[in-house]
C-alpha cells in the first residue's frame, strides 16, 4: 500500500498513544471496572441480608422450638408479655414485632400471625418472615407424622441435562460442562457484543472529531497537496484502529490483573456475585464449582474466538468509522450538525446491540444467522455467537461479506470525504453527500 498511508497512520497512532488522556483512560478503566464489580458484589451481599431487626413473640411455642434447630433462622424471640412488647419493641431496638397467638385448634395447626411496625415494612421482608415461619411449621408437621428428614431428602430429585455430544477428548469438561459452557458462552458473547458496541462509538467518534478538527483548522488544505484524500482517510482509520487494538490488548491484560489484585486485597467480597447479574440464573450457577467453571472457560476454542474477534473488531471498526469520517468531513463549525448526521448510524448500531438479547437466548436461530451475515450487524452479533460453535461456513461467509462491505464503504465514504473536507460554509445534508459521491475526481 501507499507509503504515505503509513506515514499518516504512524502520526495518528503515536500522537494518540502518547497523550496523557489515553494513558489515564487505559489505566483507570480496569480500576473503575474493578471498583464497579466489587461495589455490585457488596450491594448484592448487603441486599440479600436484611438489616431490619425482627422480634417474635410466639405463644404457640412451636416456632421457637423448631427455630432453635434451624441455624439459618435469622429472627429473635422474646418471652415477655405481648402488651409490654407492643409498647416498647422499638425502644428495644427492634423494627418489627411479630405476634403469633396460641393455637385455638391444635389438630389443624393453622397458624395466624400479625405484625406491628412503626414504618411500613418492605414486601421482601414480610415474604422472608412468612417463608421462615412456614419452614418451621412444615418441619414440625413432619416430625409429628414421624417422617424422617433424611427420608424426605432422599425423595427429592434433580435432573441435569448434559450434552450427549460432548467432546470425548475433553473429559475435564464432561461433567457439567454442557450447561456451564452455555452460561459462560452467553456471558462471553454479551461481553464481546457490548465491547464491539463501545468500540464503534468510542473510536468512531474519535475519527469523526479528528476529521472535523482537521477540516476546521484548515490542516487538510495543507495535507491534500501531498496526500490523496483517500490515503489521508485510510491513514487516519488505520492509526486510530491501531490505538483501539492497543487499548484492547492492554485491557485484556490489565483487567484480569487488577481484578486478581483487588480480590486479594479486599477479602470477604466475592466477585463471582457479578456473574449473577444479567441473564445467568443464580441457581444454575451454584451447582458448579469454581474449578469446573475454570475448566469450561479454558476449554472454549480461544484459538478460534480471539483471532475471529479481532477480525470482526477491525471490520466493524472500519465500516462504522469510515462512515463517521464521512460525516465529520461534512460538518461546518457546529457540533450539533454532527449529532444530526450521526443519528442514522446510532440507530443502526443500537438495533444491532439490542439484537444481542434475542440472539444470545437462541444463538443458532434464524435471527442469529441473519444478523451475523448482515454486514452492519455482523461485527456485533457474530463475535457474540462465537462461543456457541456456529457452523464454520457462517463464520467464513460473514467475514467475506463484511470485508466486501468494508471495501465498499471505504470507497463510498472516501468519495464523500474528498469533497467534504474542502467544502466550507454550507450545511451539508445527507442528500447532498450522496451527490458528492458522483462527483468526478
Amino acid at each position: 500500500m501507499n507509503s504515505k498511508v503509513w506515514i499518516v497512520a504512524k502520526r495518528e497512532y503515536l500522537t494518540r498513544v502518547q497523550k496523557k488522556s489515553f494513558i489515564l483512560v487505559t489505566l483507570l478503566t480496569p480500576i473503575t471496572i474493578a471498583v464497579f464489580i466489587f461495589f455490585m458484589g457488596w450491594m448484592m451481599n448487603a441486599g440479600s441480608k436484611s438489616d431490619q431487626r425482627v422480634v417474635i413473640k410466639d405463644e404457640t411455642g412451636i416456632i421457637q422450638q423448631m427455630a432453635a434447630e434451624d441455624k439459618s433462622f435469622p429472627y429473635e424471640f422474646s418471652d415477655r408479655n405481648v402488651q409490654k412488647l407492643k409498647e416498647d419493641y422499638s425502644s428495644q431496638g427492634y423494627d418489627l414485632l411479630v405476634y403469633i397467638p396460641a393455637l385455638r385448634d391444635s389438630s389443624t395447626m393453622s397458624i395466624s400471625a400479625s405484625y406491628y411496625s412503626r414504618e411500613k415494612p418492605s414486601l421482601s421482608l414480610l415474604e422472608s418472615i412468612e417463608s421462615h415461619l412456614a419452614d418451621q411449621v412444615e418441619t414440625f408437621r413432619m416430625r409429628r407424622s414421624n417422617i424422617d428428614q433424611h427420608l424426605l431428602d432422599s425423595f427429592k430429585a434433580r435432573v441435569n441435562l448434559e450434552n450427549g455430544a460432548m467432546d470425548p477428548n475433553n473429559p475435564g469438561g464432561s461433567v457439567a460442562a454442557g450447561k456451564l459452557n452455555i452460561i459462560i458462552g452467553t456471558a462471553l458473547g454479551f461481553i464481546m457484543g457490548f465491547m464491539m458496541y463501545l468500540v464503534i462509538f468510542i473510536y468512531g467518534s474519535m475519527v469523526m472529531r479528528s476529521v472535523m478538527e482537521e477540516k476546521l483548522s484548515r490542516i487538510v488544505e495543507v495535507m491534500v497537496s501531498s496526500v490523496k484524500p483517500i490515503n489521508l482517510m485510510m491513514g487516519k482509520l488505520i492509526g486510530v484502529g491501531g490505538v483501539g487494538l492497543t487499548q484492547l490488548a492492554l485491557w485484556a491484560f490489565l483487567i484480569p490483573v487488577v481484578l486478581t489484585i483487588a480480590h486479594a486485597l479486599v477479602p470477604g467480597v466475592d466477585p463471582s456475585h457479578m456473574t449473577n447479574v444479567g441473564s445467568v440464573n443464580e441457581d444454575s450457577f451454584d451447582n458448579f464449582s469454581f474449578h469446573q467453571a475454570y475448566d469450561a472457560f479454558f476449554s472454549l476454542k480461544w484459538w478460534l474466538i480471539l483471532p475471529v474477534f479481532i477480525i470482526f473488531f477491525l471490520g466493524g471498526y472500519f465500516i462504522y468509522s469510515s462512515l463517521f469520517a464521512a460525516m465529520g468531513s461534512a460538518i461546518n463549525e457546529d457540533m450539533g450538525e454532527g449529532q444530526q448526521l450521526m443519528m442514522p448510524i446510532v440507530i443502526v448500531v443500537l438495533c444491532a446491540f439490542y439484537m444481542l438479547f434475542p440472539v444470545l437466548s437462541n444463538p443458532n436461530g434464524s435471527l442469529a444467522v441473519f444478523a451475523s451475515l448482515f454486514p452492519l450487524f455482523s461485527p456485533i452479533i457474530m463475535p457474540a455467537r462465537l462461543a456457541f460453535d456456529p457452523p464454520w461456513w457462517q463464520i467464513v461467509l460473514s467475514i467475506v461479506i463484511m470485508l466486501c462491505t468494508v471495501w465498499f464503504f471505504i470507497w463510498l465514504t472516501s468519495r464523500i470525504y474528498r469533497v467534504g473536507i474542502l467544502m466550507y460554509g454550507k450545511k451539508a445534508t445527507i442528500r447532498e453527500m450522496i451527490k458528492w459521491i458522483r462527483y468526478s475526481d
Partner: protein, 301 residues
C-alpha cells in the same frame, strides 16, 4: 519550454462554473501572478494544478508531461486557508510534512533543521505549534512549503496575516528562490503586490480569463498617454494640438496627449509658455485600475 501549461481548463461545481476555459503558460524561473477578486476561481485553478481535483475538460502539462500523481511532489503549495496541528512540536511537524512530500526520514530531519536555522528559528524545534505566535506559525507554514525544494512554488495569498517584517522576509525568500531558478505561481487579490513582483500575470474574473500577459506590456497597452508635470509659474490658458489638461493641483498638472503625439511636444509647449518644469513622468495605469476598467467594461456590455 514552459514548466506549467493549462489548455482550456474548465471545472464546474453544481450550478456554478468555477473555472471557465482558462489557458496560460508559466515560464521556468519566473514569478507568475494569478489575480482576481475573491471567488474568481483562483483557488479552484490551483487545486487542479496540484491534482487535488481534476478538470472537467481541458489539459494540464507539468514540465511538458501530462499532469500526473508524481508531479505534486515537485510542487510546493501554500494554501490560502492553512493550519497546523496545534499540539505537535515544530520539528516533528516539519518532518512529517516533508516526509509526505517523499523525503526520507533522515533527509527530512537534516533539511528541516537547516531551514529553521536559516530562518533563525532553530530554537523553536521542540516547541509546540500552539506556543508560537500567528506570524511564527505562518513562517513555519512557509518553510514546510519549500523544504522539499520544489521546482514550482504555488503561493495562495501568502502575505495575509503577516506583519511588515515577516512580509518582507518572505518576499526576500521568494526572490532568493526565484534567483535559484524556482518558478513561482503567486495568487492574490491584492494587485499592488503583483506589480512589484511578477513578470507575467493572468487576471481571472468569474472563472474566466480576462487578461493575460507581461505586466509592463499590459500597463503600456492600457496606458492613456497621461503625463504628470511638476512646475513653477503659470500654465498656459489654452492648449492646442489635442493636448488636454486632465487635472491640476498644487504645482502639479496631469496632461493627456493625443495618440500619435510625443511627450516632447508637450514639454516644448510648456517650456515655450514660460513654465519652469521640475518633474515630468508618464503615468501608467496600475493593474488594479486596469482590472476595474476591464471588469466594469465587461459588466456594462
Amino acid at each position: 519550454m514552459s514548466i506549467l501549461r493549462l489548455e482550456h481548463v474548465t471545472k464546474k461545481y453544481k450550478n456554478q462554473v468555477a473555472v471557465d476555459d482558462i489557458s496560460f503558460e508559466v515560464e521556468p524561473g519566473t514569478i507568475f501572478g494569478m489575480l482576481g477578486p475573491n471567488g474568481a476561481g483562483k483557488t479552484s485553478t490551483i487545486r487542479i494544478i496540484t491534482t487535488i481535483t481534476g478538470p472537467d475538460s481541458g489539459k494540464v502539462f507539468f514540465e511538458n508531461e501530462t499532469l500526473n500523481q508524481s508531479h505534486p511532489a515537485r510542487m510546493g503549495y501554500l494554501p490560502e486557508e492553512r493550519g497546523l496541528y496545534k499540539k505537535m512540536k515544530v520539528g516533528d511537524h516539519l518532518i512529517y510534512l516533508a516526509r509526505l512530500k517523499g523525503l526520507t526520514a533522515h533527509d527530512a530531519a537534516t533539511r528541516c533543521k537547516a531551514m529553521l536555522h536559516r530562518f533563525e528559528a532553530l530554537d523553536w524545534w521542540n516547541k509546540k505549534v500552539e506556543e508560537l505566535s500567528k506570524g511564527m506559525q505562518q513562517k513555519i507554514q512557509f518553510i514546510a512549503t519549500i523544504v522539499h525544494e520544489p521546482t514550482l512554488l504555488i503561493l495562495d495569498e501568502p502575505f495575509t496575516g503577516l506583519d511588515p517584517i515577516n512580509t518582507s522576509m518572505i518576499q526576500d525568500e521568494i526572490f532568493r528562490l526565484k534567483n535559484k531558478g524556482v518558478t513561482i505561481l503567486f495568487s492574490t487579490h491584492r494587485m499592488e503586490q503583483v506589480e512589484e513582483m511578477c513578470e507575467n500575470i493572468i487576471l481571472i474574473n468569474h472563472g474566466k480569463n480576462v487578461l493575460l500577459g507581461n505586466v509592463q506590456e499590459i500597463r503600456n497597452t492600457y496606458k492613456e498617454n497621461l503625463y504628470e508635470v511638476g512646475f513653477k509659474g503659470n500654465l498656459p490658458q489654452q492648449f492646442n494640438g489635442g493636448l488636454e489638461l486632465v487635472k491640476q493641483y498644487d504645482h502639479t498638472a496631469v496632461f493627456r496627449i493625443p495618440d500619435q503625439d510625443t511627450p516632447n511636444h508637450l514639454l516644448q509647449y510648456l517650456m515655450q509658455s514660460g513654465c519652469e518644469i521640475h518633474a515630468f513622468h508618464e503615468i501608467l495605469p496600475s493593474i488594479n485600475e486596469i482590472f476595474i476598467r476591464i471588469v466594469k467594461g465587461v459588466s456594462h456590455e
